[in-house]
Symmetry: C4
Subunit: 278 residues, 4 copies
Amino acid sequence: MTEPETSPEPVRPLSPRREALWRIIFLSDTPAGRGFDVALLIAIAASVLVVMLETVPDIARNHGDLLRGAEWFFTLLFTLELGARLWVCRRPLRYLGSFFGIVDLIAIVPTYLQLLVVGTQYLAVVRILRLLRMFRVFKMAHHIGEAGLLLNALRASKRKIFVFLLAVMTLVCIEGTLIYVVESRANPQFSSIPQSIYWAIVTITTVGYGDMAPVTVLGKVVASIIMLTGFAIIAVPTGVVTAELGRAMRVDNRRCGECGWKGHDPRASHCLQCGEAL
Amino acid sequence: MTEPETSPEPVRPLSPRREALWRIIFLSDTPAGRGFDVALLIAIAASVLVVMLETVPDIARNHGDLLRGAEWFFTLLFTLELGARLWVCRRPLRYLGSFFGIVDLIAIVPTYLQLLVVGTQYLAVVRILRLLRMFRVFKMAHHIGEAGLLLNALRASKRKIFVFLLAVMTLVCIEGTLIYVVESRANPQFSSIPQSIYWAIVTITTVGYGDMAPVTVLGKVVASIIMLTGFAIIAVPTGVVTAELGRAMRVDNRRCGECGWKGHDPRASHCLQCGEAL
Amino acid sequence: MTEPETSPEPVRPLSPRREALWRIIFLSDTPAGRGFDVALLIAIAASVLVVMLETVPDIARNHGDLLRGAEWFFTLLFTLELGARLWVCRRPLRYLGSFFGIVDLIAIVPTYLQLLVVGTQYLAVVRILRLLRMFRVFKMAHHIGEAGLLLNALRASKRKIFVFLLAVMTLVCIEGTLIYVVESRANPQFSSIPQSIYWAIVTITTVGYGDMAPVTVLGKVVASIIMLTGFAIIAVPTGVVTAELGRAMRVDNRRCGECGWKGHDPRASHCLQCGEAL
Amino acid sequence: MTEPETSPEPVRPLSPRREALWRIIFLSDTPAGRGFDVALLIAIAASVLVVMLETVPDIARNHGDLLRGAEWFFTLLFTLELGARLWVCRRPLRYLGSFFGIVDLIAIVPTYLQLLVVGTQYLAVVRILRLLRMFRVFKMAHHIGEAGLLLNALRASKRKIFVFLLAVMTLVCIEGTLIYVVESRANPQFSSIPQSIYWAIVTITTVGYGDMAPVTVLGKVVASIIMLTGFAIIAVPTGVVTAELGRAMRVDNRRCGECGWKGHDPRASHCLQCGEAL
């Protein structure tokens, strides 16, 4: 989402050829550039799909070689693309440091890495992040705006959320110990405190897999209390985000020159109090 | 809910008989019309019930023929009704294109379709949508208003929700891969990445069936992190809808006499567009 | 909670004895009255506990007679009490029609009913509603106020919630049918459409017992979509209640006589715009 | 979080040595003091970890003695520390009465207690609360502010939440009885009313372990109704907290010079209490 800030600064052309290539690769305001971007998006989606399908036993058994081949093909393609990007853009290092530069890099590394460490190729799924490019390609400016609004709200609440998560972590540690003390004797599922803390997290987030559940009467009483408190707790992050979003959507700092009224509707061109033009 | 916009325009009568029939079928301001609508609602509810009961083994075994008979009876009834509607209304095609016209059509198609494709008749359940007519029949204008308010809020948040769902989808893909890498060796349930993504969705939405659950220590740690993040994430859509609803409910309906701007702050005494006193 | 409205109107004493008794039973402003009410609350709590414990096999086996005895004792006690209430209050029928009158009645009926119908005595649990009296006994006026605020917010959102539940009901019917068509062949759990609708409700409310879960690939895809939509849907009731509560807590209709500003803080005694006293 | 209020009052030094020690132990504005606090935090985290690992069978089997040793080492360390705190601070009893004093005490008691009562040592996990000190050590003033905001919102909603929990408790008792009456005959899981109430809590909080689930048709109908109502109910605490947070964030900190009233509307230009210009 942070693409706008990290978009390459207006560049002074080096050679016409690289200039043209740069326009194709980095912008999508020309038919060629747009075509390139769309093709890229398709390739990305396809490559992610390949990585995923590779892990499905039946498919792997029948088309394993094909998938591995496609996987390598896409990786080499993306390697070439990244090379081209670095070659044509004026500050390669700065691009590599940008959000999309990093994503481009970690999108190809895993496939090479598997030659050294087995099982790492799946991490290539992160290249799904490259799809975020589509926001620019499809001129989803509005959506970028909305995303920005959401991100701002989340950023504004990040401290509150952090404090909240800290409190929840402390809480689950204590609750997990409590249930362990109460339940462990009768119930092998609660074999240790860490295990019980895991249960407390599953419970307080209302996920409730049911792979662990109290069996003793006292355990169920404790669990009930934990659930009901969790019920009130789950309200906090929602409240935080909502309040921040509401503020983000409401905020407008213009003050009326006439009557000094503040807090106008962002759409207002005149003071709602005295009718003076803002 | 969109019934109001798509309600048939005031028609100039063709023949008195069709005029009378039209009034009975499309309006419910006469005893006959009201009776027709109520009977129709009952028939719809009954037919939906029939389709559902048809799938209950015991009932199907004992009253299968009866149910199939009823099913066909209702279908023919609704076919006749649709025919009548098209015959009496002045712009049949326009009606067919309207929300209720489409619903009327897809409410009868499945039963006929099953003659060609087996198992499609159940789709006849969609005729439950026809019950939305009751809003008009029972003059639930207020409820239509409320529904409109909700729909507006949802419509206003649709972009944010879309961006949010996109982010969630990306997130679950990465989280699913992560848990797959961590868990798959020890746990046959996480047999593939798509499978693991399904688990991630079940977890982040806090549904938590428990048909899949991590068993390794590392897996449980990752799961805990996913749950706690999901805990913060679940706040976003609520925040969005709440903020939009709050705004929708804060705005009032006064229209500026000068510039016709609508949606002023309830406290406003002057138009925020042109400054004219309200 | 609606106790305040339904509290007995100021009565003109009939006989001093009944007057005194009335004061003890209906008010709690005298030591006797207060003692009576507290004792009553304890008796109610105890009787509810008895009814519940009666159903616990072990306890029932060992102390069955004792519990049944206590149960009858409490029932007779409450019968006497209700009789006394009707005898001392000036408009017995009106009291019987009030919220607490009805509760008093249905609190004793089940025990007698079990002589005719077996297994109805458990319904005596409803007498727990009588505990609401404590709000008055313990002068929890503030809490009544808060409760009123919550009730008002819920009442204000009742239409929206109704429309919402209607929409959800329609949705689960269609989703249930969908999953049935997709899943039923491979998965005996989805044996019928009503069954599948039950699953859809369990899923969309994020309860997710796991007693039913899709096993086919397509089924899991459909389930994922249902969960993600449910994720957005769960936001609606919260949004509604929050918006209503926020309004209920914000609202104040005083308009400044000087500058005509409206929407002051309920605590304000002076206009926040021009400083004029309100 | 309440640390600020309970921080030791500015003390007049007794002896230079104790004064110096006091500065090291209670403040973290000197290298020594900061070092002490950081070391303490690490020790606390380590000791909590030890207590938890002690309960993991495999680890306990292999390193049991080591862990028990560490456990005792940390406990003695914390005992010494508490002793030092009491020795250097001017009002030992007042410190013991403060939030952190109490936590310091209950952080060491369990380990000693296990000499008398077996299995109590796990309660030593509560010493995790001592980590709250880090807020002061790391000068996380902002976070304390945010935490305060959250706490205020929770405190402001505490009455509403209490009333709400009371209502929920009443509700689950009645719903639990209902499901018991409906389900118990066919389903051994619903063996008693308390058991069924536990299920109702698991359901209404949308945790849904699945260790208990209705099997009869009627039971599933009742469960569906409970879930859908719970769906609306879950909205209330969120609504309360959100509304309170929104208000808490809307209020600003200007204090009226005239009457000292605080908590004005951000748009206010005059005190809402005495009308003085702000």
